[in-house]
């Protein structure tokens, strides 16, 4: 290295002395002080010139000191300066108004002009992320980047979030994109300790990022954009640049900013309940039933005004003497509405940024966020602290780094799934929304004062009181996380540098599930008290050496070469203990529990380790012809530890091209109609190496599996039900994309259109096996998934005057996907259960929903994939529909398209912004809807229940059904979804006012004599209104939730809980 440097220096020296010219040096930056590389510096009227290096510097031999230098860079105003000074110092270039040719950060942190990219990149800047009432940066991206599909698991503050880019392209692998923060990988896992049936209260680890300290988010969607990241980038890359990592050089003096926000957090969707009938069946007084088909309330013609007080029983005489002999009013109550609270969200951000001379910068910020959920017991507190800086040393070295520390404390009551008839496990929502109308649980103590156990309206005491759950059952996670990077760059020559970068991301995740003894749901482990603690340790080490070389090959051709090696190691290790049978009520300490075990609620192991290593060598060449043709060729070879030696290496190339007619053709260059036009095309590949340890068979060790009558402890061995496959090969993903972007009519209209097609062939898929094979699952290479779609971004600057500006931007995204499976695989369960879940089926979209349906008189499938029902339901002799014996396709949960419109209207310092999102199509099974309708709760069932009903359909003999049934029977047995689910499949189309904000910035002229640099106030809200037109009217179903949690699947809703609505005010000042 040193020899090389010496050699280069000598060479330079030699050239310089021979020609005896004056060398003019300078440095080009943008107005923010960020160095611009690749800027053309030419001596006017000659062919001589150069380009700036990555740090923005140039040096050019000039014969005549009176020569003019022409400095040009697309997207920036041209600068002319006389070369009369050997050191021109720092020159800043101004961006051309309306220019789109910004520099974007691409894979591996390479900054490139956007016009040179042969693929689509969606950029979201800080203005769209900060001052929002949401702690989860991914949720803030909803609708802002076409191609990116985001789904909440519920409205619980801090609950997991699903992000999928350009569709799910794997049947059984993971679809979470790679997160890269300030150039290095960042773990975005959702470390659930039990399957979705036990709830979705596990955060997705991008929650540890602070939206207020983010400078920008670039989403690299296609493989062309992500090849350099290798197989880890196959699902897209979310590149986040923090304010600390942006290394924005500022020549300004120190700036301190202070932001304070207050928001309220409310439940967004509850059913509208009817108030005519109470609990029971067949209009009888059945106060203690789950269902609400009971007697009418008084006044007339209701026959009852009270019932026996539920605590007026001999068994509770000692606990509740006050209720003995008492009656309980039989009238509608509104306890469900009362259950939810208005949470307060407080955010304080302090930021500091300063330049250090002209060669360094320093940034720091701190954010405190306290997000109280609308559900009692739910709260998220985050402290995030970050530092970043960069300094250029005199010896051509540049050192930069970031350091971030995040403490996240999240807690929530458990949210186990429920099928509308008692919760699978302890769950705050499991029985809540179908609380019978006469039950006012605020009138009914939730705890037996003697036993501390849950007590509720049913004499058999078999439903857990929601308030008992809130006060006695706690899940949560406490995260301590350090992440960041250090990098050292050395400028070998002015246009050649080499960089070493190390990225680190380490966190500890203390995950707990605590429940006092005395519960009801979930079996004796829950009922007797549960204390489960798991410590997860995640480590990512990422080392890269990257060299970057720029050359002007001729007057017309420029070349940029990037090459590097990268190693990434991910280690996840956890250990945990689960204790049951609490001794003394109230204390959660393993010592206070009798039974200790290391299996989770779902039987999975709490102690395990998983380690993965990926090595890569990559290179990329960018060739530019004049200012209008750009060709990029790249490739990477990866070696990973997941597959056996002979299969672990794969090379995958990529190529893309960008062509700018507006720069190429004279006639278009100064057109006022077409200001900018770019055509692009790319073809690229990537790989998937599966997950660790799938190639070798293992033996399951089950200690302590049985104790015989003599007290002898028996252990057992079992052969894993996963059939190992040593011949597993990496899968190759191939994608092409084409696009066109441009600006028209004096830059008033802009558009960006992309079509992509991605094939993921020979998938590494988890094939479920018929147990009669001896195994239940194996990994094989088979099947493919094709995703193809359209992404459109368009904007119109409707009004553009001195004081008024109105910009409307529209994002459109549609993705279609299609599964092919070899003929010996019937179908693969991808989510949910084998009798009701999401599936991969040959020729069908991935994740299609199958389940039990009521049979119809033509065909056996209830709903064809197009969602059109065929035939009438068949009714049996008792007047009921007949459930199918096999599962059939019930719906396709994949939306047809997503449309977002963002309007920004500003007048002087006032700005009003709205974001409307519309999702068209996609189906959802909703047990929330099924249970409130099937149990007679929502206003949808507020009809005269004395009348008998005839269900539409035909009888077994084919004649029109005329068998009368009661309302209870018609709804509970047939329309609830309890016996067949096709009746509770809904079209999930939804329109939503995602965001609205009104902000006012005090004009600089007013502030000039104050200590403030800037002062603004913003009123904003999220999820302010929505409507899902094809769901039952009074259920108020918000289909934008999923009980399946974070993963590839959607479309199943098992009382997962409502969504949240948030609004409030923020004030920002800078000094």
């Amino acid at each position: 290295m040193r020899k090389l440097t010496l050699f280069v220096c000598c060479l330079l020296f030699a050239i310089t002395s021979v020609l005896a010219q004056t060398v003019v040096k300078g440095r080009i930056t943008d107005p923010d002080g960020t160095p611009l590389s690749g800027v053309s510096v030419k001596i006017a009227g000659t062919q001589e010139g150069t380009m700036t290096a990555a740090d923005g510097t140039f040096s050019l031999p000039v014969k005549d000191a009176s020569s003019m230098l022409e400095i040009s860079y697309v997207g920036y105003d041209r600068v002319n300066i006389r070369a009369n000074n050997p050191n021109l110092g720092s020159l800043s270039m101004k961006q051309t108004p309306g220019a789109m040719q910004e520099v974007v950060v691409t894979a591996q942190g390479i900054r490139r002009e956007k016009k040179a990219l042969g693929y689509a990149v969606a950029s979201v800047d800080k203005k769209q992320l900060e001052l929002r009432p949401e702690a989860d940066v991914v949720r803030l991206l909803q609708g802002k980047a076409p191609g990116v599909d985001i789904l909440n698991s519920s409205g619980i503050s801090g609950s997991g979030t699903n992000i999928i880019i350009r569709g799910v392209n794997t049947i059984s692998g993971t679809s979470t994109p790679l997160f890269v923060v300030d150039g290095v990988p960042f773990d975005a896992s959702t470390n659930s300790q039990a399957n979705f049936q036990y709830g979705n209260t596990t955060s997705s680890r991008f929650l540890d990022l602070d939206p207020n300290s983010i400078e920008s988010v670039n989403v690299l969607k296609g493989l062309s954009a992500t090849t350099l990241y290798g197989e880890l980038g196959r699902n897209g890359v979310v590149m986040i640049t923090t304010k600390n990592g942006s290394n924005r050089r500022t020549n300004k003096k120190m700036e301190i900013s202070l932001t304070q926000s207050f928001f309220v957090n409310k439940v967004a969707n509850l059913p509208e309940y009817q108030s005519s009938y109470g609990g029971g069946f067949e209009q009888s007084l059945g106060f203690a039933f789950f269902s609400n088909w009971g007697a009418q309330f008084k006044p007339a013609p209701g026959p009852y005004d009270s019932v026996n007080h539920p605590y007026n029983t001999a068994a509770l005489a000692a606990a509740f003497p006050q209720y003995q002999g008492k009656r309980y009013a039989y009238k509608p109550a509104n306890s469900v509405e009362r259950f939810f609270r208005t949470g307060l969200i407080r955010t304080t951000t302090v930021g500091l940024s300063t330049g250090i001379g002209t060669n360094g910068s320093f940034n720091a910020n701190y954010t405190y966020m306290d997000d109280e959920g609308f559900t009692p017991g739910n709260r998220l507190i985050k402290n995030t602290f970050g530092l970043g800086g960069s300094v250029k040393l005199s010896n051509k070295f540049t050192f930069s780094g970031t350091f971030n520390y995040a403490i996240t404390d999240f807690k929530s009551p458990p949210t186990g799934t429920s099928f509308g008839s008692g919760a699978t496990a302890s769950s705050v929502f499991g029985d809540l929304i179908y609380t019978p109308r006469a039950v006012d649980f605020y009138d009914l103590e939730y705890q037996n004062p003697l036993t501390k156990g849950s007590i509720y309206y049913r004499p058999s005491n078999d439903i857990q009181h929601p308030l008992w759950t809130v006060n006695n059952s706690f899940t949560g996670q406490k995260i301590n996380r350090i992440f960041g990077n250090f990098q050292l760059k050395y400028d070998i020559m002015k246009n050649w540098n080499i960089m070493y970068r190390v990225g680190y991301d380490q966190y500890s995740d203390l995950n707990y599930y605590n429940q006092n003894r005395g519960g009801v749901d979930g079996g004796s482990d829950f009922v007797l008290g549960l204390h489960r603690t798991v410590n997860g340790y995640n480590t990512i080490w990422d080392h890269s050496i990257i060299t970057d070389y720029n050359a002007e090959l001729s007057r017309s051709w420029r070349l940029n070469l990037t090459a590097g090696v990268n190693s990434q190691e991910r280690i996840y290790e956890q250990n945990g203990q689960r204790s049951t049978q609490q001794l003394v009520y109230g204390l959660f300490d393993h010592d206070n529990f009798i039974i200790h075990d290391n299996l989770s609620e779902d039987g999975s192991r709490l102690d395990f380790k998983s380690q993965f290593l990926s090595l890569g060598v990559f290179a990329q060449a960018n060739l530019a012809f004049k200012e209008f043709l750009y060709v990029t060729l790249g490739g990477r070879n990866s070696w990973t530890s997941n597959l056996e030696k002979e299969n672990r290496s794969l090379f995958y190339p990529s190529a893309s091209v960008s062509f700018l007619p507006t720069a190429a053709f004279e006639g278009l260059r100064n057109s006022r109609m077409i200001n900018f036009l770019k055509l692009r095309a790319g073809y690229s590949t990537s790989a998937n190496f599966g997950f660790p340890y799938a190639t070798r068979p293992v033996l399951n060790i089950n200690t302590n599996t049985f104790v015989d009558r003599a007290g002898t402890i028996l252990n057992s061995n079992s052969i894993s039900n996963r059939l190992a496959n040593p011949n597993l090969k990496p899968e190759l993903l191939q994608e092409y994309e084409v696009g066109i972007e441009g600006r028209l009519f004096d830059n008033r209209f802009n558009f960006d259109f992309t079509y992509y097609n991605r094939d993921s062939k020979d998938q590494i898929l988890d094939r479920e096996l018929d147990p009669s094979t001896g195994f239940s699952v194996t990994s094989i290479n088979a099947g493919s998934v094709r995703n193809y779609g359209i992404e459109i971004q368009a904007g119109v600057n409707v009004v553009r005057t001195r004081n008024w500006n109105w910009q409307v931007d529209v994002n459109y995204f549609q993705n279609r996907n299609n599964v092919s499976l070899p003929s010996d695989i019937k179908q693969i369960v991808t989510g949910g259960f084998s009798d009701e879940g999401t599936f991969a089926i040959d020729g069908k979209p991935l994740g299609i929903i199958q389940g039990i349906y009521f049979i119809r008189d033509s065909g056996t499938t209830a709903v064809n994939p197009a969602g059109k029902e065929t035939g009438a339901y068949i009714v049996d002799n008792s007047g009921n529909y007949i459930p199918s014996t096999q599962i059939g396709i019930l719906g396709d949960p994949n939306p047809d398209y997503k449309l977002t419109a963002i309007s920004t209207l500003s007048y002087k310092g006032l700005s009003f912004r709205m974001q409307w999102d519309y999702t068209h199509g996609g189906d959802i099974i909703s047990y929330s809807a099924g249970s409130v309708i099937g149990r007679g709760l929502s206003k949808d069932t507020d009809f005269d229940r004395q009348n008998m009903l005839i269900l539409p359909g035909v009888k077994l003999d084919g004649s029109t059904n005329d068998v009368m049934t009661s309302a209870s029977q018609a709804y509970f047995t047939n329309l609830s979804g309890f016996f067949a689910t096709d009746v509770i499949v809904y079209d999930a189309s939804v329109i939503r006012l995602r965001e609205a904000s009104l902000s006012y910035s005090v004009p600089a002229s007013v502030l000039s004599r104050s200590p403030f640099g800037a002062l603004s106030i913003t009123f904003s809200g999220q999820n302010l209104w929505y409507n899902a037109p094809n769901t039952p009217k009074y259920v108020n179903l918000d289909p934008e939730t999923s009980s399946l949690g974070v993963g590839n699947n959607r479309g199943l809703e098992y009382l997962t809980g409502p969504t949240s609505k948030r609004y409030g005010v923020s004030v920002r000042v800078t000094f």
Binding site: F281, D462, S524, S641, D708, G774, D876, I887
Partner: protein, 567 residues
């Protein structure tokens, strides 16, 4: 330029070289050992636990159709959903079969012949149970892993023949000496710590052969001679007088980590004080009222059922709505007040025997603390001493129950059936009495056998009480005028004695149509009786060669009775 390339290459090669070794190391799963380290004895535990699971599901579903347990769906179809059988399918194939197959070569090499025999015996019983349940099943093509991922079915009769052959192999294995090491406490049936244990297994294997011949007697002309031969075999006859030959899977009182209790105890003696299951109204009526109530009821009643309430003070429209409506019109007419006595039970029985009618699929009322639940035999629950209090987690025998796979009383009833129907040796009447007495003796002796608290002596049936019951049954037998009536009495007594083994009574119900006076479903149109189960969802949905049956009316190979034979 070239220098740069060399440099990059050098860095790449250096870093890759050092990492290759690490890539190899990371292929090894640090969480589980390699299969070569398996122990046959530890596989044996897995086989037995999976076997218990197979039996539980078979017994639960079969018991529901034949009214031993409550069937809580209006139709047989809804009570035998394909998804309900995923568990038994995987317990049989990935639990029993897979681990027996893996165990045999190791145990053979180790000369642990008793382990080999137990594995083969349990595999054979599982094979027959799967055929009884589903009809044709994958067998030869099953358990081949990657070699065949879509196993096709094989005729049930062939699988039965292979199971009987396997029992013969097991008998040979049990008699092979020398044995390296006996399973000892790893044997959850007999605790076969020595040759005595091996001898018990020889008898068990032969009794299972006897059972197989009787089960398939409708399609086997030589059944009588085969049965007669076995009944004369001294290795079989020794079990007639010695209850220690009863093939019972034994649970213990351990509540958690690991839960080693009887599954019905777990389901019904819950910490919440609620019983999870309903008892079948018909089954309770059979013991409590059919032969007369009060002191005339079956001496086993207090052992079989535990009442959480002994009165009907809690009956109201919420808790027992059936009490407020008339019996379904398709039930035979009879006296109905105060509690339906005959000819067919409906809704409430006397003295708090709180159950649920056959095929009652209406909503579940809040009665978990009122339902009658399983007693001390065979689930290890509470002895009913008129306590009338709620269940709790650790009551009674604390779950130290048994799965009664085959008991000596069953042999007597089998013999009586075979004697009456296909002319096997023996007097049906004598065998009937012997079976009843052996069953009662087993039940009455059960609390002390499992170390449970001794019941109140005044409530333990004495000899006079037992004699009275036996006399009542024999009087009815003597009064019977046809063999069909006599068979009905024999099968009814077997039905009662088999409490806890719903699979056996399901088989007899399909084979003989007895007991005949079963309670009808609540719905007049329950669809066909479940003559076999629909194939499990995990089989039909994942196996390319799977063809689901048209309906639950499909009959297994040994059931040649006409369609609609039972309701």
């Amino acid at each position: 330029m070239s220098m740069k390339k060399i440099m990059i290459l050098a860095i790449a090669v250096a870093s890759l070289g050092s990492c290759t070794k690490k890539l190899d190391e990371l292929l090894v799963n640090p969480n589980s050992p390699a299969p070569e380290l398996a122990s046959a004895r530890l596989y044996l535990t897995q086989v037995q636990l999976s076997f218990a699971d197979v039996f539980s599901t078979a017994s639960n579903s079969g018991g529901q159709y034949s009214r031993m347990y409550n069937m809580g769906q209006f139709t047989y179809l809804n009570a035998s959903r394909p998804e309900g059988f995923n568990g038994i399918w995987s317990s049989a194939y990935t639990g029993v079969f897979k681990h027996v197959n893996a165990l045999l070569p190791i145990a053979t090499a180790e000369k642990n012949w008793v382990d080999v025999g137990i594995a083969k015996t349990l595999k054979a019983y599982t094979m027959m149970t799967m055929v009884d349940k589903f009809g044709d099943i994958p067998y030869t093509e099953a358990n081949l892993g990657t070699e065949n991922t879509n196993p096709g079915v094989e005729k049930g009769s062939d699988v039965y023949a292979k199971a009987i052959a396997l029992l013969d192999e097991a008998i040979v294995a049990f008699k092979t000496t020398p044995v390296n090491a006996y399973p000892g406490s790893n044997d959850l049936f007999f605790g076969a710590s020595n040759a005595t244990g091996a001898g018990r297994w020889v008898t068990a294997a032969k009794l299972l052969k006897l059972r197989a011949y009787n089960t398939t007697r409708l399609v086997d002309n030589s059944a009588a001679s085969k049965i007669n031969a076995l009944l004369a075999d001294p290795e079989v006859t020794r079990s007639f007088t010695d209850a220690s030959y009863d093939l019972d899977f034994k649970f213990s009182t351990k509540q958690a980590n690991p839960n080693s209790r009887h599954p019905r105890y777990n389901a019904n003696y819950q910490a919440t004080g609620n019983a999870g299951d309903y008892m079948s109204t018909y089954m309770m009526w059979t013991l409590v009222q059919e032969k007369g109530s009060g002191s005339n009821n079956d001496p086993r009643t207090r052992y079989y059922f535990y009442r959480q309430t002994t009165t009907y003070a809690s009956v109201d429209v919420n808790t027992a709505s059936c009490a407020f409506s008339a019996p379904p019109s398709h039930y035979p007419a009879g006296p109905s007040a105060p509690y339906n006595l005959s000819p067919m039970p409906y809704c409430l029985l006397v003295s708090g025997y709180w159950g649920r009618d056959h095929g009652d699929g209406t909503g579940i009322p809040p009665d978990g603390n009122l339902r009658t639940t399983v007693g001390i035999y065979p689930a290890g629950g509470e002895f009913d001493a008129n306590q009338g209090t709620r269940v709790s987690l650790n009551r009674g025998g604390q779950g130290a129950g048994v799965h009664p796979i085959w008991q000596r009383a069953f042999t007597d009833f089998l013999n009586a059936e075979a004697a009456l129907t296909i002319g096997a040796t023996g007097s049906p009447r004598t065998l009937l009495e012997s079976g009843i007495r052996k069953s009662i003796a087993k039940v009455v002796g059960f609390p002390s056998a499992i170390g449970a608290p001794a019941p109140d002596p005044s409530l333990v049936p004495d000899a006079a009480r037992i004699d009275a019951y036996v006399a009542k049954v024999l009087a009815a037998y003597d009064a019977a005028t046809t063999n069909d009536q006599r068979l009905d009495i024999i099968m009814k007594e077997w039905y009662i004695a088999a409490w806890g083994n719903g699979h056996e009574v399901y088989n007899s119900h399909r084979r003989t149509g007895k007991p005949a006076n079963v309670q009808l479903t609540k719905d007049p149109n329950p669809g066909s009786y479940s003559r076999s189960a629909l194939y499990p969802a995990s089989y039909v949905n994942l196996n390319q060669n799977a063809v689901q049956k048209a309906s639950v009316a499909s009959q297994v190979f040994w059931d040649t009775n006409p369609a609609g034979f039972i309701k």
